[in-house]
């Protein structure tokens, strides 16, 4: 890696901590981001000559803070001076800052920064866009490309989201245990949204797919700070195990390949190992939750050397457990997949038929129903179900997959 490449990596890695600490200090998101930008520019000048500092984040925080104070002072000649309290809580802030970087308190800064992006009034895609802009530091252009929208549209979306968040007031008080748990849960859900944005990408959308890596990176960071949270372990494990299958999920023509048909040699072993290690570790806490259970399900798939070796009984039990934790027709639908493997298509159809009304607009419901009916030889009903599914497909890959089923049905005639 060139020196500059190394520096960029270090800046990317330090960004969440640095922006989070600067936000606590300035209590203003734009000012914090500006300060971080300033610090990065100085790092690009200073680091090639002096080498990177041992603690890049605290270097960036101190330099960014000083640069921002300078610029606020310059501006203050034109506008009224800001309240001194807003800028500084004390004199020896630098030392406090450096200490805090070692301490566990510091993790609340990063949690706050992530939490800001999960404002409940923001629709899911705006939460994701905001997190990618503020926490990850992706450019508007990169985010726009990942979401397949124009740059100016994305710019507007992010500006609106920021304004909404700023208007809502950032929670700066140190969170109590209950609040911290609530924030962690909201942040976990948002990180999983980021991941799923990437996961839903087609094989030709590498920019979008890279959101999976970004979600994993941020979740690893969160887990390193909240090392004892089994649900965060579960979330990271879930992401790693799902992402391990990336290379096997698409055929050379770009069509989706079902789990059963994937070439398991293409699954990424290091990601699987890390995911399984995290599940094992989370289990020690004996506090199961939805992410852990979903990760355990993904883990059973990952452990099977071939599709035939899949422990469907274990998977069915885990989905049953997930149903009690988070009852949802989608979970039942997934449980029915395991049931179909264990007890055949009719048992699965019986399980999902009560869901018809609630899942009428859901692609996978009709896709699954079609597949079961096809297996039972009910060609006409299967075709109807597949036609409904194809109309609801979210991606070209999904549509192509259903098209294969329909073509197979036509070939049977």
């Amino acid at each position: 890696m060139s020196d500059l490449g190394w520096i960029e990596g270090a800046l990317t890695a330090a960004r969440p901590q640095a922006v989070a600490a600067l936000l606590r200090y300035f209590r203003d998101l734009d000012l914090a981001e500006e300060a971080f930008q300033d610090a990065c520019l100085r790092a690009l000048k200073a680091w090639p000559a002096n080498g990177p500092p041992r603690d890049a984040a605290s270097w960036l925080i101190m330099v960014g803070r000083n640069a921002a104070i300078d610029s606020v002072r310059k501006r203050s000649k034109l506008t009224a001076l800001p309240d001194e309290q807003v800028l500084s809580d004390g004199e020896d802030r630098e030392e406090v800052e450096a200490e805090r970087l070692d301490g566990a308190d510091y993790r609340d800064d990063v949690l706050r920064l992530l939490f800001i992006c999960c404002h409940p009034d923001l629709p899911a895609t705006q939460q994701v866009a905001l997190a990618l802009r503020i926490v990850s530091g992706l450019s508007v252009k990169q985010i726009a490309r990942a979401f397949l929208v124009g740059e100016s549209a994305m710019e507007q979306r992010i500006t609106r989201a920021k304004a909404k968040v700023a208007g809502a007031g950032v929670p700066f008080e140190a969170p109590g245990p209950v609040e911290r748990a609530e924030r962690l849960a909201a942040v976990a859900a948002m990180l999983y949204l980021v991941f799923n944005e990437g996961y839903s990408a087609g094989s030709d959308q590498s920019e979008r797919a890279s959101l999976c890596d970004e979600a994993i990176r941020l979740t690893r960071l969160l887990l390193r700070m909240y090392a004892a949270e089994p649900e965060i372990m579960g979330l990271l494990a879930l992401m790693l195990l799902q992402h391990s299958r990336w290379a096997a999920r698409f055929a050379s023509d770009g069509n989706a390949v079902l789990l059963d048909d994937q070439d398991r040699a293409l699954w990424k072993r290091p990601l699987i190992q890390e995911g399984l290690a995290l599940i094992d570790k989370a289990m020690l806490a004996r506090k199961p939750g939805p992410y852990q259970i979903q990760a355990a399900i993904a883990g059973l798939h990952a452990r099977a050397q071939t599709a035939d070796e899949t422990d469907w009984a274990g998977i069915e039990q885990l989905y049953a457990a997930l149903e009690t934790h988070t009852p949802s027709p989608v979970v039942t639908l997934n449980r029915a997949v395991a049931v179909s493997k264990l007890h055949g298509p009719q048992a699965a159809l019986n399980m999902i038929s009560p869901l018809a009304e609630r899942l009428d607009k859901y692609f996978y419901f009709h896709g699954m129903r079609g597949a079961m009916l096809k297996e039972l030889g009910q060609t006409r009903e299967a075709r109807e179900a597949f036609n409904k599914a194809i109309a609801l497909a979210n991606t070209p890959a999904e549509a192509a997959h259903i098209r294969q089923h329909l073509d197979a049905l036509s070939a049977q005639k």
């Binding site: 330090a14 603690d55 070692d102 890596d213």
Partner: protein
């Protein structure tokens, strides 16, 4: 003399590498590895999963703690076992690794007991 070379680096930075960057670093490291392996001086080398996957068993009270034993700015991310003539030669190896993968630190620790294992 046998040395363990303990590889420390900022974990957030290393795990922020893109796949391309990671592959490039590993490619450069492998050139060094092969050279020293051929000379019969490089023994096992190990790259560890992130500390988020680690647990620590505290021996005093049999408590299992989450995470690595020591909370430090740089984390132990892997290690090498080398069998070299001198500390000088060990440092030569570590410097070649540094060129392939700058950032962080290598701790050279002479080995007292070396069991090959099974």
């Amino acid at each position: 003399m046998r040395y363990a070379i303990l590889c420390y680096n900022n974990e957030d930075a290393v795990f922020s590498w893109t796949k391309e960057e990671d592959d490039a670093v590993m490619g450069r490291l492998n050139v060094v590895h092969e050279k020293w392996e051929k000379a019969g001086k490089l023994k096992p080398s190990i790259r560890l999963l992130p500390t988020s996957a680690a647990v620590t068993l505290r021996k005093s009270d049999d408590t299992v703690l989450d995470g690595p034993y020591a909370e430090t700015k740089e984390q132990l991310l892997g290690f090498y076992i080398i069998d070299v003539e001198s500390l000088e030669e060990g440092l030569e190896f570590a410097r070649e690794l540094t060129k392939a993968n700058p950032g962080g630190a290598y701790e050279l620790r002479p080995i007292m007991i070396y069991n090959q294992g099974s």
